[in-house]
Amino acid sequence: MFAQIIFVVLLIAAVYLFSKNLSRIIRNIRLGREIDRTDRSSDRWMTMLRVAFGQSKMVVRPVAGIMHIFVYVGFIIINFEVLEIIIDGIFGTHRFFSSLGSFYNFLIASFEILALLVLVGVIVFLIRRNILKLKRFWSKEMTAWPRTDANIILITEVLLMTAFLTMNATDGILQSRAFDHYIQAGSFPVSSLFAGIFSGLSSESLVMIERFCWWFHIIGIFAFLNYIPYSKHFHILLAFPNTYYSNLNAKGRFTNMESVTREVKLMLDPTAPVPPVDPNAAPQRFGAKDVYDLTWKQLMDAYSCTECGRCTSSCPANQTGKVLSPRKIMMDTRDRLEEVGRNIDKQGKDFRDDKSLLNYISEEELWACTSCNACTEACPVNIDPLSIIVEMRRYLVMEESKVPAELAGMFNKVENNGAPWQFAQADRFNWANAD
């Protein structure tokens, strides 16, 4: 009974804390500007099914892709086991679903096989990060914390899976001894392989180990649940909505700025009918200086990023040694958004500090982009770093007139002679006269 009370208290605390964390993140995402991503819902569902559920972009890189599928499928399916743990914890039962009989055996056997695959995947990931030291996990923006964060997640998964398998191993021995309430239930294709190392122990010691693993597993999951909102690992939840709300337009199409359209229309024809401006609307900035100027989708992108670095490793600017890294753009956006969120928590929602995204992202980074869309193509969860770069360029150009001198020259030429080079518009047909 005492154990049940502790369990229920822990469960309530974990769920409460998680919902608080979740609402904090939702509030932060809602600081972004409005953008309509509710159209074409069947295309959106298909995109989510294909990209997030079906992992279609993960497998573009086969080794990481397949290992990730192990961990992903394992994670989702083994969580059915958590349901049983919760029921057992609340009601003080043991293996509540065992009445399902042979289907239960099948379930437990598949959980075990998946747990093994998760272990394989996670160990391969640890090796890739820490022994092979793949370049994209060690580039500049991968400072101590992002690297530690990744390792914390991976090691937690190793521990959780090990606890799960050890629990089954000891349970299996206890079942064979028909000890106490350890009824025959489940099938243990993986844990039975190493159960031998526990077979010399007394039944009381085995119960101790089994209970320890059970508690460790569930407390580990509660802790994990409340760690991910502070971690890059939040992608396990956001991957789904983030792909649902993907940009479905051609990647080459940049957004149209309505606010500019009305001004340009007035400039070209002062008598042109233009929709009236809402006098109560807050004046909107051109482009993005801070997270408030980005859309909620761009902010969701930042929380969805798991820092895998596929964007950066395919970025032509980054790969030729420029400072730009699309992953860093996303990490900076998230860091700044978290900072803004902390300010709001401490100082209230109207508080503004004197910092902005430009304290995180330099002009040099922004101007190094070739807008080639390699980053958006590479992202396994359809994050769009390019759109943030473009919004920030818009701010620099239209609000601050900060633009590389050659580009300012190019603007002048387009404006004066209708071409980015110094040629007379009258000479446009000269190509036909040569040869």
Partner: protein, 254 residues
């Protein structure tokens, strides 16, 4: 175009030449190749000549939305005035802008890249080539970002190249994984930020590793970048950089 309008006729298609195609000496050759092919195929096409103006693409990529929209609205006024419905262009940047970014500002046209039009002309039997001078040559195609990833056109240029009876050899980074030439996003008009290498050198190195006779491109900016890249490796005598239109026009001896 003005002549068509004066006669009260409408062309089948407007050939949008673009700034590079109008002024860049190398790209002018691409423009002439496209024009020759269209003539040969009997396509009634027009150009805007001195009425054409920059689509605004480089301004938009560089964040100058005002300038972009000014250019776009002036061009749309002109295009709509002539009642243009269909546009072909040899520049993927113009293609993308006209196709994707003009509709919201009131310019709705069917816009195709010249590789798509060439593909169609082949399938209709309006142009034919018998391998010609390029038969058996080793060619690799460099995907323009704004044609490939930007608009998901990967096969049209390859289908056209296959008509040449050449050996098509793909770089490791091709199609959706294609590596930029370094000119997009208004980089064409500025020096690159400091780094270890220029993007076009990296890309040309990858292309040259295949030992091609020809690097085929479908964009005047890629043309500049890849040509400079080949020069950087002193390979300009061995490896030619040619636009798909030049290859077709050359093979058909136009």
């Amino acid at each position: 175009m003005a002549e068509f309008a004066a006669r009260g006729e409408a062309p089948e298609v407007l050939f949008w030449v673009g700034c590079a195609g109008s002024f860049d000496e190398r790209a002018q050759k691409i423009t002439r190749a496209v024009a020759k092919i269209l003539h040969h195929a009997g396509v009634a096409f027009a150009v805007l000549g001195s009425e054409e103006s920059c689509t605004g693409d480089p301004a938009k990529r560089a964040g100058n939305e005002f300038l972009f929209q000014m250019q776009a609205m002036m061009n749309i006024q002109l295009l709509n005035g002539y009642g243009i419905r269909k546009i072909v262009t040899a520049c993927p940047h113009c293609f993308n802008t006209l196709k994707n970014e003009y509709p919201e500002l009131g310019g709705n046209y069917e816009v195709v890249h010249h590789s798509e039009l060439l593909q169609k002309l082949f399938s209709e039997g309006k142009i034919k080539v018998q391998g010609g001078s390029f038969q058996g040559k080793k060619i690799t195609f460099h995907d323009p970002c704004y044609l490939g990833r930007g608009n998901d056109v990967y096969e049209a240029p390859r289908n056209v190249l296959e008509k040449l009876d050449v050996e098509l050899s793909e770089m490791k980074r091709s199609r959706a994984k294609g590596f930029c030439c370094g000119a997009g996003g208004a980089q064409m008009f500025k020096e690159p930020e400091k780094g270890q290498k220029d993007v076009n050198v990296e890309r040309t190195e990858e292309a040259l590793a295949l030992n091609p006779d020809i690097i085929a491109v479908g964009c005047p900016f890629c043309m500049t970048m890849m040509t400079d890249g080949v020069k950087n490796f002193n390979k300009e005598d061995k490896v030619k950089v040619l636009d798909i239109a030049e290859l077709i026009a050359g093979a058909a001896e136009l």
